[in-house]
């Protein structure tokens, strides 16, 4: 977690000669204008990026973190900190991999060398889910609770933005928006509603855990 934060900070404090201004915008849902938190917003451009190493561990049958932003070429460890084994895999075109049931830490980290969205799952815990956003740009950020995000942009206008959120109708790829400064500094996107938590499956699991 700390590493990730560090990586994000590093990426944000990336020295950029061409940066002339910061782009700041607010994301809302198109149906209720509620601020969208946790959306990943980045520019559609290719920068020089420095790969990093990160990890997504499994604890309490969940992936941590749920969303991981990576520069292209980064490597990710998937340590298992649960008392059950996990079978982590992805079928995403950006990176398709498969780590058969294991406990502890897999011997080899997974290399993400293609930009795109990679969705992670566990073959024996269907509800476990995590996303890795692999980008080629340094201008990337996540909206805060008020849906706001600030990105460094060059003077060239208009800019093309890529926006991704787990609850996009098609969350296998970001949506693309063009945006110029003159317009209102807010964007609205379509999101599917939050899946209901506490379904029967979860109840059953909780009961299992309580045993």
């Amino acid at each position: 977690m700390r590493k990730v934060t560090a990586a994000v900070l590093a990426s944000l404090l990336w020295p950029m000669s061409a940066m002339a201004a910061n782009l700041s915008l607010t994301l809302t849902t198109s149906d209720s204008n509620a601020p969208v938190a946790g959306a990943v917003v980045y520019l559609d451009r290719v920068d020089e990026v420095a790969p990093i190493s990160a990890e997504i561990y499994q604890k309490d049958r969940e992936f941590h973190p749920k969303i991981l932003i990576l520069p292209v070429g980064s490597q990710v460890e998937f340590p298992n900190r649960d008392n059950t084994q996990h079978h982590v895999y992805s079928f995403s075109p950006a990176k398709s991999f498969n780590i058969e049931l294991y406990a502890g830490k897999p011997p080899v980290p997974v290399l993400f060398d293609q930009p795109g969205i990679v969705e992670l799952g566990c073959n024996i815990h269907d509800h476990m889910q995590a996303f890795i956003v692999i980008s080629e740009t340094t201008a990337i950020g996540q909206t805060d609770v008020s849906g706001r995000v600030t990105l460094p942009v060059t003077a060239a206008e208009p800019v093309t933005l890529k926006i991704w959120h787990p609850r996009l109708p098609d969350n296998t790829r970001p949506i693309i928006r063009t945006w110029d400064k003159g317009s209102d500094r807010s964007l609205s996107i379509d999101l599917v509603p939050e899946p209901e938590t506490g379904d029967s499956m979860n109840l059953l699991q909780r009961r299992f855990q309580e045993l």
Binding site: H87, Y89, S90, F91, S92, P93, A94, S96, N98, I117, V118, E119, L120, G121, N123, D126, Q129, P169, D170, T172, V192
Partner: protein, 785 residues
């Protein structure tokens, strides 16, 4: 109305009862049937509703089952790996393998952009995708029913989602025979799955249970706007259940309940009802017949009874078992009969009895006589006529008269103990029928009876006697039937009035002459009108010159049946029947006509006409004379009217007045039949007559009877002394003629001179007489010479 009279009570009763039974039965049967139908329909509907719920539930369950299978398939790691591998061959084989696991009938794999990754079917995928077009998001599980490639399917779409895997599995499960059978088994209906490609196309049957005929196939495959009830309802109750979620009805499950069994049971019930109704009908007819018999028989008996009463028999009232109205009717009829008899007896008594004396009346006597005639018995009829009953009634009052009648009746009863019948047949006329006996005994009985009747009787305390005349007739000798009896009895009573004897016996033959008189009286009228009478004329000669001076008109009647009828007879009858004036008027006209005819032929004779006594009291006589002889060609004195002496003496004053009127007309008046009447010479002196006609009884034997000669001679002398001319009639020979010439009789008439001749022979007769003048006047010439 006619029908009613035609059918009679029994028929109507049966008709009414049968109609009642039929109507009630039909209504009940109809209600029952309607109820059965309704009930059947309701039950079928209920069953269909249950079937519908069952079908839906079953399909839902099946869907859940299929879905759970599919979920397992799409979450299978191997399958997902295969899909994610992107290798077409791998994907296809995995799809086929896992489809088999899930027992789909076909399946498709579509990626997130809608591109088909693999398919196990030849169906155009678009069709399938179209069927799912209403699925909102690719990540939802959607389910629909679709008609694809001639087959009905339940189509499910399940997302295939792994980390980074976005695809859809579309799987189809056929609506097949086994499913239909399952539904059919559970719902107890027959099941047909049918589908169509769009709402304008016909349905196709995709699966079905049970047998179907061609009609049903057609019915099932036609597009109908009736979504729930279909098919010919005579055979099936049905319900169509739309399966696809669009509700277009493109794919349906049709539940059908055959009515075969229901109808069979229904027909069985109909048969039972029919048998029941038939039985009731037979029963009703039997009942109606029994009632009609028990009710009709007494009615008919009563009708016969009433008819017998009407015919005047005395039937015993019929025995009637049932009480109530019929008995009352019987009693009423019986009482009616009793009263009828009483009244009839009263009427018969009144009809056959005289209410004053209590004796029988004319009817009763005639019936009694009729009965006697029919039985061929003989008996004697005694008749009594009280001579002065009218006077008694007028002077002493009707009550007194009645008392006399009662008294006489009582005496007759006492006097004729063995009479068959005693009756009062008219005012003062009593008749009795007594057993016949010898004429002497009858006479004695009659005299005795008359004496009894005429014996003074005490009336109101004073003695009073009546005078009566008796008649007797012997039956059947004197009359053989009631008509004759009545006629001859009247005749005899009439004769009794002029009969000196107290008892008058009917004389046979009287009635025949009476009948002849009746006939002549009737026919005389016709004869007068139709010129059935004809005239004869007898010349009268001047005794001195022998020339024809006058003819006497004599009427003659040859009756077509009875032959010659003497003038005395029919003139008497004409006087009796009041036709004498018509006859006289007729004769006057005839004579005037004939005289004109002779005058034209050169015979110049006067006429003499006889007048009846009644003509003298006839006011119109002079008018008729004047009218008849209006064109008379000679002096009025040449018309002589002859009136008999007796006629003049009947009513001398009236006769005198008439004669004076006739004399005023200038006619000659003559006294006919002089010497036979009882005319007093003093009256003769007063009469305005110019001529006497000596009766022929004095002239017929004049040549041999010295007495007659004396009478004739002195009569001529007396008449001449009174200034009257004399006519003698009945001259039969020359001697008489010569004597009359000698005695200076003025005119002579007789067979010696000429018989009466018809009008057309008179001229000839006149010539003959003219040729005889020489002979007839010889003696005078000799005297003078």
């Amino acid at each position: 109305m006619r029908l009613q009279t035609y059918m009679g009570f029994r028929g109507r009763l049966i008709t009414v009862m049968i109609s009642l039974v039929v109507v009630v039965s039909l209504i009940m049967a109809a209600l029952f049937m309607a109820y059965l139908f309704e009930d059947e329909k309701n039950r079928a509907n209920e069953q269909l509703t249950i079937g519908e719920r069952m079908t839906r539930e079953l399909l839902d369950r099946r869907t859940d089952l299929i879905l759970s299978r599919l979920r397992v398939v799409v979450q299978d790691f191997g399958f997902r790996s295969a899909v994610a591998s992107g290798d077409h061959g791998t994907i296809k084989s995995a799809l086929e393998n896992h489809s088999r696991r899930a027992q789909t009938d076909f399946s498709l794999l579509i990626d997130s952009t809608g591109k088909i990754l693999a398919s196990t079917t030849n169906h155009r995928p678009l069709e399938v995708v179209d069927a799912l077009s209403n699925s909102r998001a690719s990540r939802d599980i959607t389910q629909t029913f679709a008609y694809i490639g001639g087959q009905g399917y339940e189509v499910l779409q399940v997302p295939v989602e792994g980390p980074g895997l976005r695809a859809r599995l579309i799987a189809g499960f056929a609506l097949d025979q086994s499913l239909a059978r399952l539904i059919a088994r559970l719902s107890g209906t027959e099941v047909v799955f049918r589908a169509r490609s769009d709402s304008s196309a016909d349905y196709q049957i995709v699966a079905a249970t049970g047998d179907r005929d061609i009609d049903m196939e057609r019915e099932l495959t036609q597009t109908k706007d009736e979504p729930r009830m279909l098919l010919n309802r005579q055979h099936y109750f049905s319900r169509a259940i739309t399966l696809d979620n669009k509700g277009s009805g493109d794919i349906q499950a049709v539940l059908m309940i055959s009515r075969q069994a229901t109808l069979e049971s229904y027909y069985t019930r109909v048969k039972m009802i029919a048998i029941l109704v038939g039985g009731i009908l037979v029963l009703a007819i039997a009942l109606a017949l029994i009632i009609a018999r028990t009710l009709g028989k007494p009615v008919l008996q009563l009708a016969d009874y009433a008819r017998a009463v009407g015919e005047g028999q005395n039937p015993t009232p019929p025995y009637i078992r049932t009480g109530g109205e019929l008995k009352q009717l019987r009693n009423a009829l019986r009482d009616m009969l009793v009263r009828l008899r009483e009244r009839e007896a009263q009427i018969r008594y009144a009809a056959t009895h005289d209410d004053v004396t209590g004796l029988g009346n004319r009817n009763a006597l005639m019936q009694s006589a009729q009965a006697m005639f029919e039985d061929g018995e003989a008996c004697t009829l005694l008749g009594i006529q009280l001579n002065d009953l009218a006077d008694i009634n007028d002077t002493l009052g009707l009550e007194f008269g009645d008392a006399v009648l009662v008294g006489v009746g009582q005496r007759l009863r006492n006097g004729l103990p063995d009479a068959r019948m005693i009756a009062r047949t008219g005012g003062g006329e009593f008749l009795a029928l007594v057993p016949s006996s010898s004429p002497e005994q009858v006479d004695a009985l009659a005299r005795h009876l008359l004496q009894i009747v005429q014996t003074p009787q005490q009336i109101n305390g004073s003695p009073f006697s009546v005078r009566a005349s008796m008649v007797t007739m012997e039956l059947p000798g004197d009359a053989s039937n009631t008509n004759e009896l009545r006629r001859r009895l009247n005749l005899t009573f009439e004769q009794a009035e002029d009969h000196p004897e107290p008892v008058t016996r009917y004389r046979p033959g009287q009635d025949e002459s009476h009948l002849r008189e009746l006939q002549l009286t009737a026919d005389l009228h016709t004869a007068i009108i139709d010129h059935g009478l004809h005239m004869n004329y007898q010349p009268k000669l001047n005794t001195r010159t022998g020339e024809l001076v006058q003819v006497e008109a004599l009427v003659r009647w040859i009756h077509p049946e009875l032959g010659f009828v003497s003038p005395e007879e029919f003139i008497f009858l004409a006087e009796q029947s009041g036709q004498i004036h018509d006859l006289t008027a007729h004769i006057l006209e005839r004579v005037a006509e004939d005289a004109r005819a002779w005058a034209e032929q050169g015979v110049n004779a006067g006429v003499a006409i006889n007048l009846s006594a009644m003509d003298l009291t006839w006011p119109e006589l002079t008018d008729h004379l004047t009218r008849a002889f209006a064109n008379w060609h000679q002096g009025m004195e040449r018309i002589t009217l002859e009136v008999t002496e007796s006629a003049l003496m009947k009513d001398p004053e009236e006769a005198m007045a008439t004669l004076n009127r006739l004399k005023a007309l200038g006619m000659t008046l003559s006294v006919d039949d002089f010497g036979t009447g009882y005319s007093s010479l003093s009256q003769l002196r007063k009469l305005p007559v110019q001529e006497l006609k000596i009766d022929k009884s004095f002239v017929l034997n004049l040549d041999t009877e010295p007495q007659d000669q004396l009478i004739v001679k002195s009569t001529i002398d007396m008449a001449h002394g009174l200034g009257l001319k004399v006519v003698a009639e009945g001259i039969e020979n020359l001697a008489a003629w010569e004597l009359l010439q000698q005695w200076r009789c003025d005119l002579a008439q007789g067979f010696y001179l000429s018989r009466p001749v018809a009008a057309n022979q008179l001229v000839e007769t006149a010539q003959t007489l003219a040729s005889r003048r020489q002979d007839l006047t010889e003696q005078l010439l000799e005297d003078h010479s």
